[in-house]
Symmetry: C2
Subunit: 410 residues, 2 copies
C-alpha cells in the first residue's frame, strides 16, 4: 500500500529554524514554555495538523502530545510525538518529560495561543497546570504571529501557486459573467474552478466569529450593504444566517461587480480583488476606481523594507481625501474597515496590518494584501487588491491577474 504512505512535506530545516526562532523569542521574553494548541500554529511549527498540544521548552527538544492521529503525526513531523493519553494526567506526564521545567519546585511561565484557545479549555488547562501558584499562563500568540509575518521561500512558492489558481480560475470564469447570472451562480462556478485546482474548500481566519470561504462577488448596490465582516464591502449574502458575500440577485449591466476572491492551496491563501462591469461605469464610480488603482500603485512604490505600516494607511487616507473620497474609503459611515491591507499566509488575517497602531517597519519576507476600495451606498463598491511580497528592493506583486477595470460586453 505504497500509495497510502504519508510523506513528510515540510523541509526539516524549516521546522528546526521556526522552533529555534520561537525559542529565541521565548528567551527574550523570559517565557519557559510555549504550549501550542491551535491547528494552524501547530502546523506552522511542526508540519503536522493533527490534534493535540505542542510543548515547546525555552531550549531543548519539543514534544507533540497527540490526541489523534498519533500515527499520522509521526509521519508528518520530525518532532518527537507522543500519545497525549488522559488529559487529567497531562501535568504528571509533563513533569516526567520536562522535570527541569515542571518539577515539584518549579513555577514556569507558560505561553499559550490564548487569542484562539476557547476559554473553557484554558480554564481546564490552568487548573491542571496549577495556575497561578504552580505556573503562570500568559498569551503568547503575538510571538507566533510575529514569527509568521516573515515568509520563507517555501511558503512563498505555495502562495504563488494559490495566486496562479485564482488568476486562471477568474480568467476562465469571466466568459460566463453575463447580465442576469446570479452572484451565487457565478461564485459557484468560480469556486468549482478553484476547488479543482486544489483549493482546500476554506480560507482559515483567526478572528472570532469571522468567516470566509472564498471571498465575495457582488454586483452594484448590494456590495455597499454593511455586514459584520471586518472588510470594506458587505453584501446581501444568503439570508440572516449567512449575512455577507454573494446573494441570489442577478448581476446587472453598468454597475460595478466587485470580485474579491482567494483560495487556499497547500495551506496558504491568496487574496485579490478586481472590479468588473458589463457595459460601463458612471463617471464618479470610474474616477473612484481609478483612484483605487492609483492608491494601490502609490502603496506598492512605498512598500520597501523600513516603511512604517501605519503610515501606508495614513497616506492612503490622505490620498482618498485629496480626491474628495474620504467619506467613501473602505466603507461608509459607521461601518468601515480601518485598514488598507493585511498580512496573508496560513490565515487570511495575518500580521502586519496596514492600520493605525501597527507602527512597525516592513521587513523582507512579509506578504501583504493591499486593498484600497471605495464604497457608494446605493451604487456599490469599486476597488482593487493585490498581494505583495516585500523584497529588499521593494514590493513584488504575487497576484497574477493584470490590473485594470474588467470591461465585459452586454
Amino acid at each position: 500500500m505504497n500509495n497510502l504512505h504519508i510523506e513528510m512535506e515540510i523541509p526539516a530545516e524549516l521546522v528546526r529554524e521556526r522552533i529555534g526562532k520561537l525559542q529565541s523569542a521565548m528567551q527574550a521574553g523570559q517565557v519557559d514554555v510555549y504550549l501550542v494548541t491551535q491547528n494552524v500554529d501547530i502546523y506552522y511549527l511542526s508540519g503536522s495538523m493533527q490534534n493535540g498540544y505542542l510543548f515547546v521548552p525555552g531550549s531543548g527538544e519539543p514534544t507533540f502530545y497527540v490526541k489523534r492521529s498519533l500515527w499520522r503525526a509521526g509521519q508528518e513531523t520530525l518532532l518527537r510525538v507522543q500519545e497525549l493519553g488522559s488529559f487529567k494526567q497531562f501535568r504528571a506526564t509533563l513533569e516526567g518529560d520536562y522535570p527541569e521545567l515542571l518539577g515539584a519546585d518549579r513555577a514556569p511561565k507558560i505561553a499559550c495561543d490564548l487569542d484562539v484557545l476557547p476559554a473553557l479549555t484554558y480554564l481546564k488547562l490552568a487548573e491542571l497546570l496549577g495556575a497561578p501558584d504552580r505556573c503562570r499562563l500568559i498569551d503568547g500568540s503575538g510571538m507566533i504571529r510575529t514569527l509568521r509575518m516573515i515568509k520563507s521561500s517555501w511558503e512563498i512558492s505555495r502562495i504563488e501557486r494559490a495566486a496562479l489558481a485564482v488568476s486562471e480560475s477568474l480568467e476562465e470564469a469571466l466568459g460566463e459573467l453575463r447580465e442576469g447570472v446570479t452572484e451565487l451562480e457565478w461564485m459557484a462556478l468560480l469556486e468549482y474552478k478553484l476547488r479543482k485546482r486544489g483549493h482546500i474548500g476554506m480560507m482559515r481566519m483567526r478572528g472570532y466569529n469571522q468567516e470566509i470561504a472564498t471571498g465575495m462577488v457582488i454586483s452594484g448596490a448590494a456590495a455597499a450593504v454593511p455586514s459584520y465582516f471586518d472588510g470594506p464591502a458587505g453584501g446581501l449574502g444568503l439570508g440572516a444566517a449567512s449575512p455577507q458575500s454573494v446573494s441570489t440577485m442577478a448581476v446587472k449591466r453598468n454597475e460595478p461587480i466587485l470580485i474579491d476572491i482567494g483560495c487556499c492551496i497547500d495551506g496558504y491563501v491568496i487574496d485579490q480583488t478586481r472590479t468588473a462591469v458589463i457595459g460601463q461605469l458612471s463617471e464618479p464610480l470610474m474616477a473612484a476606481y481609478e483612484r483605487s488603482e492609483q492608491l494601490l500603485l502609490d502603496a506598492e512604490q512605498h512598500m520597501i523594507p523600513g516603511a512604517i505600516c501605519s503610515q501606508l494607511y495614513i497616506d492612503a487616507l490622505a490620498g482618498s481625501e485629496s480626491a474628495g473620497l474620504a467619506d467613501h474609503f473602505m466603507g461608509f459611515g459607521a461601518d468601515r474597515a480601518k485598514f488598507l491591507g493585511h498580512g496573508i499566509g496560513l490565515e487570511i488575517d495575518e500580521w502586519p496590518v496596514l492600520a493605525r497602531g501597527f507602527d512597525i517597519p516592513l521587513q523582507e519576507g512579509m506578504v501583504i494584501a493591499v486593498e484600497p476600495k471605495f464604497t457608494f451606498p446605493g451604487f456599490g463598491v469599486v476597488g482593487v487588491e493585490n498581494s505583495y511580497l516585500i523584497e529588499r528592493e521593494g514590493a513584488r506583486a504575487l497576484t497574477r491577474t493584470p490590473l485594470g477595470l474588467i470591461v465585459l460586453p452586454y
Copy 2:
C-alpha cells in the same frame, strides 16, 4: 432601493419563545445574566448574526450590543439593538442599562459561551466586569446547547431543504462518478451543485480545531487512513495542511467509495452518507455494508422519545460485535470515533450525541445524524448515515436519498 431591504427572517414568536426558555433555564440555574458572544448562538436567540454581545437578563428585555453592523442588526432582529461603543465603557453601559443587575452593590452570576469564546477575550471581559469580586463568570454553553437540541418546525423545514439539496446534487453528480476521476474532481462537482442550490459554502462546527466544508468523498483504502477529525473515516486529504477528506487520487473499481456529505442552507446543515462502488464489493465488505444498514434500521426503530442516547450507541456496538465486526466499528485501532450519531442543526456537532455519557432520553424535536460505519485498513470504509427527526411516534428520516449500496457500472 427596495431590493436592498433586509427582511426580518425569523418569526417574532420564535425569538420570544427562545429567549423565554433561556430565561427559564437561567432562573432554574440561578444565573442572573447570559452574555452571548458566538455568532451562531447570537443568531439562534436573536435572528441576527451581526457582530457584538447579546445581553440576556434572567428576566426582562435583552439588548444586542452591536459592534457591526448596527443598522443591519436592527433590520434582522426584533430585540433591542444598541451600539456597543467603546469596549472599555461596556461595564458602565451595562450598569446604566441594567442597574438592578450590574449596579454598584451587585455581584451577578454571568453565564457565557465559554466553550467557544477565546480565552483572551474572556480574560478581558472578566477584568472589565470585575470578576471574581463584582461578578462571577461561568460557562453557560450547556444551557444553550440543551435548548438548541429541540428543533421547531421552522428549523426542521430548513433542514429538509438542505436534505433535498444534498439528495438532488448527489443524484445529478453520480452520473459523473467514473473510474479514474479523482476524489477532488468529483467532490468539486458535487460542491458546485450544492452551492448553486444555496449552500453557504461552509458547515459550521463548534469543536475547536475541527473543520468541515461539505464532508468527504473517499475511495478505497484512503478512507481508512486516520486523521485528526473526530469521525469514523479520515482520508488522505490535500496534504499536511488539509489532512483529511478528499485527495487527488483517482477513484478505482471494486472498492468502496464513501460519500459522506452535507450542506448548509439558511443556516441549517444536513449530514448523510452513502457507499458506492464501481463494479462490486468483496464479500467481507459487502457483509459489513449490510450490517451498517441493519444497525441504522435497528437504531431507527428504537429512536422513540424516552430512549436513552448512550444505550443506542451501546446497542450498535453490541450489534457490530455479534457480527464479528467490533474491531472495525467507527474506525480502527487507536483512531476511532466513540459515537453512533450526533445532533445537527445550526452546527454539525450539536447535542445530543449517541455516545457514552449522554444518558439522556430522546425528545420530540431532536434531529440526529446516525452513522454506523466499518473501517478496514487497506481496503476502506463502508457505511450509511441518515438524519432523523424524533417525533412522537418515532424517528422520521429527513434524508431523501434512498438507502442501499449505490452500484455503478464500469
